[in-house]
Structures are given as structure tokens and as C-alpha cells.
């Protein structure tokens, strides 16, 4: 007898229900002691400073490639002068936040899913539990908060390096002065665009943190399941980032209007 199709739906609903419950626990326990400041500091370092190089390379290459790809088309229409402006809009509003978050989802989602998953299968989480050390506070809340704090910072860092990469390309291709580049770049973009589009990465950070911790925390089995949790953490958080982005962009357009408005 073939497996009935609805079981996939049921599995999805069960997983979604588990994740929702986990998020509920997060918001309930977030306000309760203990506050693991020391571990939060360690996670900020783990999430933040150890991602600076990766996001720097990402930003630089985005800027250079975007400028190189767009230049030909803009020249054809005699609009080469708007290149910095186009670059700033693309980078600050969409490419920077989304690409940075996806890159970080790859690095951190896999890391957190695997680390917490192996702590589960080697009974380290049980050891925290029986020692009255509140593993949810120590492992989950610290990681999620660290992601929420560091994602916007890393996004701004990536955005700046992307603009720098774009400027380097413009300098080499047309000898553009940096003052002209900067004044043109920030001519059309509004501070609310930068704030909203960088701020939305705090939500992406929450998604990466909570999905990865949830999958790691609930691993049952052995090393195979730990590997699967790591993989699912990356895939799940990446998909949720893309879906959430659509919702946030739609909402921000409704609230703040478009750049031209």
C-alpha cells in the first residue's frame, strides 16, 4: 500500500506547530532569569567578529560585480552617471540585507544546528538540565539575541564594503572622483530606507537563530540526525528569510512608500 499523501502535510504542520511552540517558549522565557550575559558576549563574538571577513568579501564582490554588470547597460542608455545611485539603492535596500543574511544563514545555521544537535545526542543538554542550569536560556536565548544584534551590524558593514567595491570599479573604469560617487549615491536613498532595510535583518537574525536552535535542540538519534538538523537549519532559515523579505518589503512600501514618493 502506498504512503498516503496527506502525511507530508501532517508532517509539515507538526513541524510548524513545534517551531511555533518553540518561539512561544522563547518569548516567555526571554524575560525570566537567569540572564546569561557572559554567554551572550561569547555568542556576539561567535556570530559577529568571526563573520566579518566572510561578509567583507561578500560585500566587496557584490559591489564590484554589480557595478561591472550594470555599467554596460547604463552606458548604452547614456545613464552612466546614475550608477552610484543605482548601486546604493540596490545594495542598501535589497541585495545587501538579503545576501548578507543568506550567507550568515549558511555559516551560522549549520554551525548552531550541528553544535546544539550534538550537545543533545551526547547528553550535554540533559547535563545542563539536571544541574538546574536552564539550557534554553544558556543555549537558545543567547544565540537568537546575538543573531538579532549582529545581523544589522554585519549588513551595514557589507553594504559599506559593497559601495566601496562599486566605487573601486567606477574609479578604474571611468576615474570617478569619490566625492561625486558619494553625493550621487546618496542622492535618492532616504534614511528610512536604510533603517528599515537594515533593521529587517534583525528579523532575519531571529529566524536563523530560532530555526537553527529549534532543529538542534530537538534532534533525536545520532550523528546522521545531527547532520540533517544542520542541513535543515540552513535550508529552512534561507527559505524563511526569502518569504519574510517579501512580507517586510510589502509592509514597508505601504508604510513608507517607494523611494520616488
Amino acid at each position: 500500500m502506498s504512503t498516503p499523501k496527506p502525511s507530508l502535510t501532517m508532517e509539515f504542520l507538526a513541524n510548524f506547530g513545534d517551531l511555533t511552540r518553540f518561539i512561544g517558549h522563547f518569548f516567555v522565557r526571554f524575560w525570566r532569569r537567569p540572564f546569561e550575559w557572559k554567554e551572550l558576549g561569547r555568542q556576539l563574538d561567535e556570530v559577529g567578529s568571526k563573520s566579518f571577513l566572510l561578509t567583507a568579501v561578500t560585500g566587496l564582490s557584490i559591489g564590484v560585480v554589480l557595478a561591472m554588470q550594470s555599467r554596460g547597460t547604463l552606458v548604452r542608455f547614456g545613464a552612466e552617471a546614475v550608477l552610484p545611485s543605482m548601486l546604493a539603492l540596490s545594495v542598501f535596500k535589497e541585495i545587501g540585507p538579503v545576501i548578507t543574511s543568506l550567507v550568515l544563514a549558511g555559516r551560522l545555521g549549520a554551525g548552531m544546528g550541528a553544535e546544539i544537535g550534538s550537545m543533545r545526542v551526547t547528553e550535554q543538554i540533559d547535563a545542563l538540565e539536571v544541574a538546574a542550569l536552564k539550557p534554553f536560556h544558556f543555549l537558545v536565548i543567547t544565540r537568537v539575541v546575538a543573531c538579532m544584534i549582529m545581523f544589522p551590524i554585519l549588513t551595514l558593514w557589507t553594504d559599506c564594503l559593497a559601495m566601496f567595491g562599486g566605487y573601486l570599479e567606477s574609479l578604474m573604469a571611468s576615474g570617478m572622483d569619490y566625492r561625486i560617487f558619494l553625493s550621487t549615491a546618496f542622492e535618492t536613498i532616504r534614511i528610512s530606507d536604510i533603517l528599515v532595510d537594515t533593521g529587517k535583518t534583525a528579523v532575519f537574525g531571529f529566524i536563523v537563530g530560532i530555526v537553527s536552535c529549534h532543529l538542534g535542540f530537538n534532534v533525536r538519534g545520532g550523528t546522521r540526525e545531527v547532520g540533517q538538523a544542520a542541513m535543515r537549519a540552513v535550508v529552512g532559515s534561507s527559505l524563511l528569510i526569502l518569504l519574510t523579505d517579501v512580507i517586510i518589503v510589502r509592509l514597508s512600501l505601504l508604510i513608507f512608500g517607494d523611494v520616488g514618493s
Binding site: T122, D126, A127, E129, V130, A131, L133
Partner: protein, 249 residues
């Protein structure tokens, strides 16, 4: 009148995904005694002791520790019971990302009022008690199986619990390490009066540490008594179990 038991399980039932693992286990452990639970793989031994620290809740039955009903406790009340219990996990469960010193200090820092200097002294004392005073700065990955067990032992006793639960304390160890870990368990009982339950398959370990032995079979305690009583019982399940151990040993 005899003292009430430190640990009492009353008709505990537990199942997972429709499969019954414990089918009405009742067990009393008196203060200062060292009980050993033996039984085949999958007989529910680990499930049994996880109920005592509230890691699992019974589907039916009662779990008491020091006259407090653990299966009904939550949050801080459960934590207060847990702080009176040390738990030695089968794998040691040392935190990989921390050194040996940090593993021990992590518990002390959060649950004692000792200052840094006093905590360091306490850690040094615990490590020398388990015979590994020089391992403070090493990570768990740098230790052998026996050393990991002994460090986990030091961590389990650092808060001076009155009860210790050992989940397969000697599994995977060579006979010399088995003897050394078993002797630590005996020393702990003799010097600090700790009440303990150990789960083991290891006859040598049971011989060294057991005051009484409980044999778990098909989710119930089949026999209780001294190791000799249980070992020489003629029930086919006991015969098979001890026969297999003796022929393997």
C-alpha cells in the same frame, strides 16, 4: 520505626510511541545505600533513573525524592530537588567547548556563593579527589574515556549532592579504569555518605559497589536482593543475563 527512603518510585509506567518501557516499577532506596539496577539492553534502566531527576515524567505512578514528589514539580521547585542530585551520564556529557576547569566552574559559579579563589580551590580539590589534578586546562577531546568519566565524576560531586545517579559509569572502560571508577563510587559513599543508584552491565563494578541489586526485565523489577541472591536466581531471564556476562568476561 525505619527511616523513609530517600528515593521512592511507586508503580511507575512509561511508554514511548505506544511501546511500554516501564510497566509498573516500584523501588525504594534508603539513605546512604548504594543500589545497582541491572538488566538487558533496552530494558528501561536509563529511562528509570531519568525519572528521578525529572528528565522524564511517568505516564502513571509516583516518583519521590526526599519526600518531594518529583513528577509533579516544575521550574524552581524541580531545580531545588535537582541540586541535591548529582548525575554521571553514560557519555560523561562534558561540555566540549569548555576546559575541564570551566566545566567544573560553570556549576560552581552558578550554584554557590564562593568567590573565584574559593572556587578554584574547590575545583583543585575535586580533581585531585578523582586523581586528575593536572588536567584543569585540557579540553574533553584531549582526554581518554576513563579520564572523561573521572572528570564527569568530579563535576557530578562538586556541588556535594546527597544523591548520585550513575548511568553506566564503567561502560567502555578497561578493567583497570572500571576498578578505579568503581572504587571512587565506594569512597564517595564511605566518606561523604552519599546515597546512590547505579545502572550497569558490569559485574566487576556491581561486585565492588552494590549493597543491593535490582534486576529490571520487561519493564518491571524482576528480582531484588544482594548481588549473589540475584545472580544465582534460577529465573530464565536472570540465568541468561548472568550466563552471557560470565561467558563474555
Amino acid at each position: 520505626m525505619s527511616e523513609s527512603p530517600v528515593i521512592r518510585l511507586v508503580d511507575v509506567h512509561k511508554g514511548f510511541s505506544g511501546v511500554d518501557v516501564l510497566n509498573g516499577v516500584s523501588l525504594d532506596v534508603s539513605k546512604g545505600s548504594s543500589s545497582v539496577v541491572m538488566g538487558g539492553s533496552g530494558s528501561g534502566k536509563s529511562v528509570l533513573i531519568k525519572h528521578i531527576v525529572g528528565l522524564l515524567k511517568p505516564d502513571k505512578g509516583e516518583v519521590w525524592v526526599n519526600d518531594r514528589r518529583v513528577d509533579e514539580l516544575r521550574g524552581d521547585s524541580l531545580d531545588s530537588v535537582r541540586l541535591s542530585i548529582g548525575y554521571l551520564f553514560q557519555s560523561g556529557a562534558l561540555f566540549d567547548s569548555m576546559t575541564v576547569h570551566e566545566n567544573l566552574d560553570f556549576f560552581l559559579d552558578r550554584h554557590s556563593k564562593l568567590d573565584k579563589k574559593a572556587r578554584n580551590e574547590k575545583i583543585a580539590e575535586s580533581l585531585s579527589w578523582v586523581g586528575l589534578p593536572e588536567k584543569e586546562d585540557q579540553f574533553p577531546a584531549e582526554l581518554s574515556g576513563g579520564q572523561k568519566k573521572r572528570i564527569a565524576f568530579a563535576r557530578a560531586i562538586i556541588l556535594e549532592p546527597e544523591i548520585l545517579l550513575y548511568d553506566e559509569p564503567t561502560t567502555g572502560l578497561d578493567p583497570v579504569s572500571v576498578r578505579s571508577v568503581s572504587e571512587l563510587i565506594v569512597r564517595l559513599r564511605e566518606e561523604k555518605g552519599v546515597t546512590s543508584i547505579a545502572i550497569t552491565h558490569d559485574l566487576l563494578c556491581a561486585e565492588i559497589i552494590a549493597d543491593d541489586v535490582h534486576f529490571l526485565h520487561e519493564g518491571v523489577i524482576l528480582r531484588s536482593g544482594t548481588l549473589d541472591d540475584v545472580r544465582h536466581d534460577t529465573h530464565p531471564a536472570l540465568d541468561l543475563f548472568f550466563g552471557a556476562i560470565e561467558s563474555a568476561g
